[in-house]
């Protein structure tokens, strides 16, 4: 009690973080929580990456050399779960925590205690998931899509898989609620919705998507749980259920999930490209409408993941047309970014380089996505390496390069020091080259007939697999350089960053000192009516 009173008496202005582990365990400061999310995501990125390297090492040559097929399947399943729920999503939540209050002029997130919970659930969830590797029957091996009846054959790990997915979902939902409440209630006066920066916009849309679909995933996995343990037959044909229904429910979650992982990256590059082109974002409002229509359409295209399950023709036609339609707003975004660069005065610092790489390579992923929408062709592509190539193109140079770009862009604001630009550029070139060496040959493999999720393959697939494996190892090693650059920057070994950091960037985050003080915008900033935020 007395401590609390003493605290209340301390001067509010300069009260910094408490020292030691309490600062992190009881963290309610959005910057601390943002940092924890980002560090956690980096750790998970390396765990998932290690699994990817086990996969690629096994696939380096035909024949089984290192692992057994069942362990191989555990690796593919865990790699996906960790990368999706452990690396990409928390990274974006971390960026949201750090940047949204700074970008809208709020002192913190709206619900700081819930924020603490939603972070600390994650290490628990992933410890549970990771521990399944040591259980009898091994980790889940039925694919991250958890299709029944196969997933019901999982060993002791099964309930732990379901429970950890529940926790991940819970964490995402709480994070999403926090983002929505913060954006809706805590904007600086005069910052109207349409004045909000694109990163805030895309996150607002993402948060609504999360809120809408994570509970659906939770419902689906709960049904799996009761099917296994409590005698229900939601997905068992013998009891009047239908295994295909799980796929419908899963992809009702799964397709919006794809956009949950990419929309914030859209937001990031929409911040970075204008800064380094020294021009305002082209078509800010149409970008908002495009992102919203992508989000809306994402709810009515789920069955394009299931064109081979045997759907009536009308269903196939509907989902094909709806899917093709998504190409339109996505195209608008790409064209608008191009128009932003057009007649600008560009410089090519690391964040810009990663954004440009995003632009080119995400577009390639978009093209293969369009090809996959065409049902007759999809029947050939489905569950082949072509699909693996497609979604890695949108997730690695898409989502992950988006995160990398954001970290390079805002890190000087976080630490008050620049990172090592030369090393940053080297990291960029290595990543971009290796990502293509890894994933481009997979297009060929898929078209030539190699199914995904196989531990061994026919000899005619050997050459491209070797190239892909070599690329993957190169990509993995390049990321160690990233860790080195970040540590260097956090240790303040680079040049001191000015308040603006870059050349006249737009946005409120550049009006606070570098490094951003522990508490910012305790009184809301003035947003002059004419200020161009976008």
């Amino acid at each position: 009690m007395s401590g609390a009173i003493a605290n209340a008496h301390s001067k509010h202005d300069d009260h910094g973080p408490v020292k030691g582990w309490r600062r992190w365990l009881y963290a309610t400061n959005h910057k601390d929580i943002g940092t924890m999310y980002l560090v956690f995501s980096l750790v998970m990125f390396f765990c998932g990456g290690l699994m990817a390297l086990i996969i690629r090492t096994e696939l380096f040559t035909p024949g089984l050399q290192f692992v057994d097929p069942s362990f191989f399947n555990q690796m593919t399943t865990m790699h996906a779960l960790i990368m999706v729920f452990g690396a990409v999503m928390p990274a974006f939540v971390g960026l949201a925590n750090w940047m949204i209050p700074l970008m809208i002029g709020a002192p913190d997130m709206a619900l700081p205690r819930m924020n603490n919970w939603s972070f600390w659930i994650l290490p628990v969830a992933f410890s549970i998931l990771g521990s399944t590797l040591f259980m009898s029957g091994g980790a889940p091996a039925g694919g991250w899509t958890m299709y029944p009846p196969l997933v019901l054959q999982t060993g002791d790990a099964f309930p732990f898989l379901i429970f950890s997915v529940h926790l991940m979902g819970l964490s995402s939902i709480m994070g999403a609620i926090n983002v929505i409440v913060t954006i809706v209630n805590m904007r600086a006066p005069d910052m109207t919705l349409l004045k909000m920066p694109m990163f805030v916009w895309t996150w607002l849309i993402t948060a609504y998507l999360l809120l809408a679909v994570m509970p659906v995933l939770a419902g689906a996995v709960t049904m799996l749980l009761t099917d296994r343990f409590f005698g229900t037959s939601f997905f068992l044909a013998a009891g009047g259920g239908d295994p295909v229904m799980f796929q419908h429910i899963f992809w009702f979650f799964g397709h919006p999930e794809v956009y949950i992982m990419i929309l914030p990256a859209f937001g990031v590059v929409s911040e970075i490209i204008p800064t380094f082109s020294r021009k305002p974002l082209f078509g800010h409002d149409s970008m908002v409408y495009a992102a919203s229509s992508i989000a809306f359409l994402s709810f009515i295209v789920w069955a394009h993941h299931m064109f081979t399950v045997g759907m009536p023709l009308t269903g196939q036609l509907f989902f094909m047309f709806a899917t093709m339609l998504i190409a339109v707003p996505t195209g608008v975004k790409v064209f608008n970014w191009t128009a932003t660069m057009w007649k600008g005065a560009m410089t090519f610092e690391t964040p810009m380089l990663f954004s440009l790489s995003f632009l080119f390579l995400f577009t390639i992923g978009g093209f293969s996505g369009l090809m996959l929408a065409i049902v007759p062709a999809d029947i050939q592509y489905h569950d082949s390496y072509f699909v693996v190539a497609h979604f890695h193109y949108v997730l690695v140079p898409g989502s992950i390069f988006g995160v990398m770009a954001a970290v390079y862009y805002w890190m000087p604001k976080w630490t008050g020091h620049y990172y090592n630009e030369r090393l940053g550029k080297i990291h960029f070139w290595l990543s971009t080259i290796f990502v293509n060496v890894t994933f481009f040959p997979m297009h060929f493999l898929g078209l030539a007939g190699m199914p995904r999720r196989i531990p061994d393959y026919a000899t005619q697939f050997a050459d491209f697999n070797s190239i892909a494996s070599a690329g993957a190892i190169g990509f993995g090693l390049s990321q160690l350089l990233f860790v080195y650059i970040v540590i260097q920057c956090v240790r303040k070994s680079g040049a001191i960053a000015s308040q603006e950091v870059w050349d006249k960037p737009r946005g409120l985050e550049w009006t606070v000192p570098s490094p951003a003080p522990y508490h910012t915008f305790e009184t809301p900033p003035e947003v002059s009516p004419g200020a161009a935020f976008p």
Binding site: T363, L447, R453, A462
Partner: protein
Amino acid sequence: MIRKLCTSVLALLIAGDAFADWAVNMPKGVTRLSAETYEIHMVVFWWCVAIAVVVFGAMIWSLINHRKSKGAVPSQFSHSMIAEVIWTTIPVIILLIMAVPSAELMIKLEDTRDPDLTVVITGYQWKWHYAYQGEDVSFYSTLARPSMAARRRNSGIDPSTVENYLLDVDNRLVVPKGAKVRVLLTSNDVIHSWWVPELAMKKDAIPGFMNETWFRAEVSGVYRGQCAELCGMDHGYMPVVVEVVEREAFEVWLENEKGGATPVATASGELK
């Protein structure tokens, strides 16, 4: 650098023909519909290439010419209604152009009427069972022994010395050339997917459900594929091999097979 990479990839594509092993594209296949599928795949691919040339061209032009180091002065335009309308409508038109032939082909793919022959295919962990409907012919089809021996971890057998490594079976599905073969698919346990790229045919085998599709192979030969839906430990080891033979040869083969049927129910052999 990206361009450099693209050119090297392109060079690879062109050089690809020199090596039989370096298959980089979808097979044209041996059915009329597989050829049409290939056609649509290529049409959409070239549309993508065309769009890529325009979009990437604009980006690269801008990257080269609108850089600060060249003394570019940033203009400050930030919207244009006309541009937005143009790059919304043009994609819609292109998409419609792609959608129409796709829809036509889909209708043909679904037309399972008037088959000459019906085969019931049942997926098992991890093999296939084929039953010729109305004939007393049915059998399992499992990974061939040479592959089986070589696939073991550190088996000491070099896969390249095994003919059709992982793509060979003990009993092939034999069908007559030119006949419309209706395929009914179901599964004994988990979901599998029956895929033969040369026939442009992939369909899931789902327990408790009967899926239907068809093909008509126009060229004799042996066509190989694999299970495409993750179905557990040995998912990578349940290949599909279809042998297309002349009608007379098929009749002879069918007569020989009769009587040796393995009905699904007495699968294990231990049952009787």
